[in-house]
């Protein structure tokens, strides 16, 4: 905004603004828009003229300010005359900035300007302006505009026809799709291509028979490929693979690979894999140098094709966390045969790539023959003991199934290192202890739990039972919170009331990690007879004055599930009223888990709560409770002052597809200013409109 807005209590003469709008100084011209906002409405004709002038200003900042004001004014008094002026601005051909700004404002008006635009389109005939009115109708998202646009698809003017196809693709619906399918019959390749793009944009299902001949047409092939991928027709795999083999450009390879992956999702991996002969070279090129989506697709196909030479590309993508879940599943089917090559990739890589290669090799080696396993164990041991922290931690985690008694010494030493390494070493030891407890019990007998040894407390607790209680006292007094938390976790493995008493003290620990761990442990700790041992401590914590402690306790009480005792529900009901927002939200969540029938009244109060934490929690609960009241409840939340609560309410309403949902969303859309919320409402309205 301008730094020099006019004083709000001193309305300038309009002529002063007219003069200022001709200034060379951008900031003076921006100040004109500010003054219009402060002192006029669109009911004033001269003010409207000035605003339209500003929409065509040569400076983008003036246009941006004017555009914001024009959007406001179109909904106010005098909005309709302003819309008419904007339509005129679209028709003029001299000032492109003005035309684009006018189109942008009109697009925000949706159905309200459809008739105006249709009249302007009719009047424009085949003049260049007609194309812009067609685009504006498409942007209006009003499907009632479809019948007026359908006849334009077949007219001779190629530009206007392409614009109509584009607008229909924006509007969607059965009638628009039928018109676009009809356009595939034309001999004009441009129109055919625009129709294909439109159908792809709408997610339409096009019959295979209509698509197959288009692949031979070099010009429209590009546009037909995504629709073939979506056709769900096994024969499409052969056609697409042919295009892939014949493609020279990376862009086409990317498009075809993406379509093949999509097709595989419907017709099955095997049906696609069977057609991929002689495609590896192109796919590898894409995997190494394409855009992320193309690389993901290429790698998936290389995995399906069992192309061992591409393991480097597969690992590289895994290192970026970009490997598709279905690619991992397909890779699992390779089994142990890939392990030697993966170890080769690991040896030639550094950092995260090396870590991923080892991780994949370990994951595939379960049924490997002895010599391969031996090679893998050696590689993992070497990587776990020296080098990059990421590689070491990954190797340690992957090492877990292969640990033997002679590895215990260095593994225990690794638990004293940095957290990442230590926790991986503990996991490896834990896994080995589950298989062979005796050597681990013996090795841990002398561990001191008030130092780094505390990390091993849970492993030791599993092996030693309640004989470890006194030793854990030292761990609870450790100076480092992660050591105290580990001791608390260890206590959680001992089904004795004394363990619960010791954990209860940790609820008032100064460190959040320790408090959290204690609350979690108290909610899960059971006696040997199955009695919940932590209830008293958690209920007592619910009476604390500390909102964070109360909220932690409330959430943990919810985790008790069926083990909750009689005193828990009244305590939570009290906490759900008259507490801080965090406690209220946590108590509501806990009640939902253990006593949902108590929530009918509370949820209405909570939805009206100005605190987002409370209202959003209540939203989820309201949906879970269901019943006739749910749409009304969600509609209340649509008016919540916090934007993301409104987003959540809009999305839930979209999913409900119940009577009243559409009306509630439309009513909110009419007054909603926030862009994220508007987008969420429009998304939710889409399926409801269908």
């Amino acid at each position: 905004m301008s730094s020099t807005p006019p004083p709000s209590d001193d309305k300038p003469r309009l002529q002063t603004l007219v003069d200022a709008s001709r200034s060379d100084d951008v900031e003076r011209r921006r100040a004109v828009v500010d003054a219009l906002r402060a002192h006029w409405t669109s009911a004033d004709e001269q003010a409207r003229a000035l605003l339209v002038g500003a929409l065509g200003d040569g400076e983008w900042r003036v246009r941006r300010d004017a555009l914001q004001l024009a959007v406001e004014w179109t909904t106010g008094p005098g909005g309709r005359p302003l819309e008419s002026r904007l339509v005129e601005a679209v028709a003029q051909g001299e000032n492109v900035g003005l035309r684009n700004a006018a189109l942008e404002v009109l697009a925000t008006r949706g159905a309200a300007v459809r008739e105006l635009l249709e009249a302007a389109l009719k009047e424009a005939g085949t003049r260049p302006a007609a194309k812009f009115f067609v685009e504006a109708l498409g942007a209006s998202r009003d499907r009632d505009a479809v019948p007026g646009l359908v006849p334009l698809v077949d007219i001779d003017d190629a530009n206007l026809s392409a614009a109509a196809v584009g607008a229909l693709a924006q509007l969607g619906g059965d009638e628009a799709i039928a018109a676009l399918l009809g356009a595939l019959e034309t001999h004009d390749p441009f129109r055919k291509m625009a129709a294909l793009d439109g159908l792809a944009q709408l997610g339409a299902q096009v019959p295979f028979e209509a698509l197959a001949p288009l692949v031979d047409d070099r010009f429209v092939r590009r546009a037909a490929v995504p629709l073939l991928g979506r056709s769900g027709e096994p024969r499409a795999a052969e056609l697409l693979a042919d295009v892939l083999r014949a493609s020279g450009s990376l862009a086409t390879v990317e498009r075809v690979a993406t379509a093949l992956v999509q097709l595989a999702g419907v017709v099955g991996d095997d049906a696609v894999a069977a057609r991929l002969d002689d495609t590896s070279g192109r796919l590898r090129r894409l995997a190494a140098g394409g855009e992320p989506a193309g690389r993901r697709a290429a790698v998936h196909l290389l995995v399906l094709n069992r192309d061992e030479g591409s393991l480097g590309e597969i690992v590289a993508l895994a290192a970026e966390d970009e490997l598709l879940p279905q690619s991992l599943r397909a890779l699992q089917r390779w089994g142990a045969s890939a392990v030697p090559s993966l170890l080769g990739v690991a040896e030639a890589s550094v950092g995260v790539q090396r870590a991923r290669a080892l991780e994949l090799a370990a994951g595939l080696a379960v049924e490997a023959e002895a010599s391969v396993r031996e090679k893998l164990v050696r590689a993992l041991r070497d990587a776990a003991r020296a080098g990059d922290a990421t590689v070491r931690a990954t190797a340690l985690r992957s090492f877990a199934p292969f640990v033997s008694a002679q590895e215990l010494g260095w593994l225990v030493e690794a638990t004293a290192e940095d957290e990442e390494i230590a926790s991986a070493a503990v996991a490896a030891l834990e896994s080995f202890a589950a298989r062979e407890p005796d050597p681990v019990r013996e090795r841990l007998a002398q561990i001191d739990f008030d130092g780094p040894g505390a990390r091993l407390a849970p492993v030791a607790a599993r092996l030693r039972g309640d004989s470890i209680l006194d030793d854990l006292q030292g761990g609870l007094s450790s100076q480092r919170p992660e050591h105290r938390a580990a001791s608390v976790r260890a206590l959680g493995l001992i089904p004795k009331p004394r363990a619960a008493e010791m954990v209860a003290f940790a609820l008032i620990d100064e460190d959040a990690l320790v408090r959290e761990t204690a609350a979690h442990v108290l909610s899960s700790l059971r006696s040997e007879e199955g009695r919940a041992l932590g209830v008293d401590a958690l209920v007592a914590a619910l009476g604390s004055e500390d909102d964070t402690l109360r909220a932690t306790a409330a959430a943990a009480l919810g985790d008790l599930g069926a083990s909750a005792t009689d005193e828990v529900v009244p305590a939570l009901l009290t906490a759900a009223r008259g507490s801080g927002p965090l406690t209220v939200a946590a108590a509501l969540g806990a009640l939902e888990q253990i006593a949902p029938s108590t929530l009918q009244e509370l949820v209405d109060e909570a939805l009206a709560d100005p605190e987002a934490a409370v209202a959003e929690r209540a939203l989820g609960i309201a949906v879970g409770l269901g019943g006739d009241a749910v749409v009304g409840r969600l509609a209340v939340a649509l008016g919540h002052p916090v934007w993301h609560v409104r987003v959540a309410a809009a999305r839930w309403l979209g999913e409900r597809r119940e009577e009243g949902a559409r009306e509630a969303l439309l009513a909110r859309l009419a007054q909603e200013d926030d862009a994220s919320v508007r987008a969420a409402i429009e998304d939710s309205l889409e399926p409801l409109e269908d």
């Binding site: 730094s3 598709l324 995260v352 994949l360 946590a586 959003e616 959540a648």
Partner: protein
């Protein structure tokens, strides 16, 4: 957790909620095709907290008493990227051959030079800059400071430790090897270099907190802005403008450009790079946008 472990899966709705929350927190924008990457990286956090769904994790990030701490953990796993010494050497050459000589002349009286590496990850860039400064031999007796900041607490701790494994040395220039010695887990940066480097945790969207850095002569922010949405990017660029001395330089990554944006910076063509400079004189933006 192995790559093959099937942890909780993320629904589109959960992805949207988490994506918006992360964007709100630190300006980083996850494109719609980044769902699987986000799912895999956050699974680690779900496992650590004993949660079984991403919805529960979202609730925790929004409303839990310890939400702020967990949000930092989430941003931590979502943003960490590998880096290495002497990355994008052509730009470092521009620093050494063009910018530093100019700074030496300009700051001759104060004998003080400050460089800020914004989004420094595990610190390789900070130490690289420090090694270049020391390696020129032109700043003996000067008050040199290289400040590194990152939103991730974990990478800052790594940077402070100053010990690096082999992957950090993939583009190392041999003449600087003298600044390293062998250490358990890799090589340790020399105290001579470390002593001029300072690290801190900073969200680049936190304009006020950025002021704690003071003013800088040069700012490096490479391969960071590409992850931001437009609005956040503009905020961060404005912060850089405010933190640079007049005539100070901003160096962005090779795929990042301010060419198509209205900014307060002027473009300077160097031998092998384009860099941005805060104008020496005050501009209209200084009057209007502050």
């Amino acid at each position: 957790m192995s790559l093959f472990d099937q942890g909780p899966t993320m629904s589109l709705e959960e992805f949207r909620l988490l994506r918006e929350l992360v964007n709100e927190t630190c300006g980083i924008r996850f494109e719609s095709d980044a769902m699987f990457a986000m799912e895999r990286r956050l699974r680690e956090r779900l496992a650590a907290l004993g949660l079984t769904s991403f919805r529960a994790y979202y609730q925790r990030l929004r409303y839990h008493p310890e939400a702020q701490a967990e949000l930092e953990n989430a941003v931590d796993v979502l943003t960490t990227n590998e880096t290495y010494f002497f990355r994008e050497a052509y730009q470092l050459e521009a620093l050494e051959k063009s910018i530093l000589p100019e700074m030496k002349e300009r700051n001759e009286r104060s004998k003080r030079l400050t460089v800020w590496s914004a989004g420094c990850s595990t610190g390789e860039e900070v130490y690289t800059i420090a090694m270049i400064l020391l390696g020129t031999g032109a700043f003996a007796g000067w008050d040199l400071r290289v400040f590194g900041s990152d939103i991730s607490r974990r990478v800052i701790q790594h940077a402070r430790r100053g010990v690096y494994g082999e992957s950090s040395f993939r583009a190392m220039q041999p003449r600087y090897s003298r600044y390293f010695s062998d250490a358990p887990g890799g090589k340790r940066i020399a105290n001579e270099v470390k002593s001029i480097c300072h690290f801190g945790q900073l969200n680049l969207l936190d304009h006020e907190r950025s002021a704690l850095i003071g003013t800088a002569d040069v700012i490096f922010c490479r391969n960071v802005l590409i992850y931001f949405d437009d609005r956040s990017r503009e905020r961060v660029v404005r912060t850089f403008h405010d933190r640079l001395v007049p005539g100070g330089y901003l160096l962005l990554g090779h795929s990042e450009s301010l060419l198509h944006r209205a900014t307060q910076f002027e473009i300077v063509h160097m031998d092998r790079d384009i860099v941005y400079r805060r104008p020496m004189t005050r501009t209209l933006f200084d009057e209007v946008d502050r």
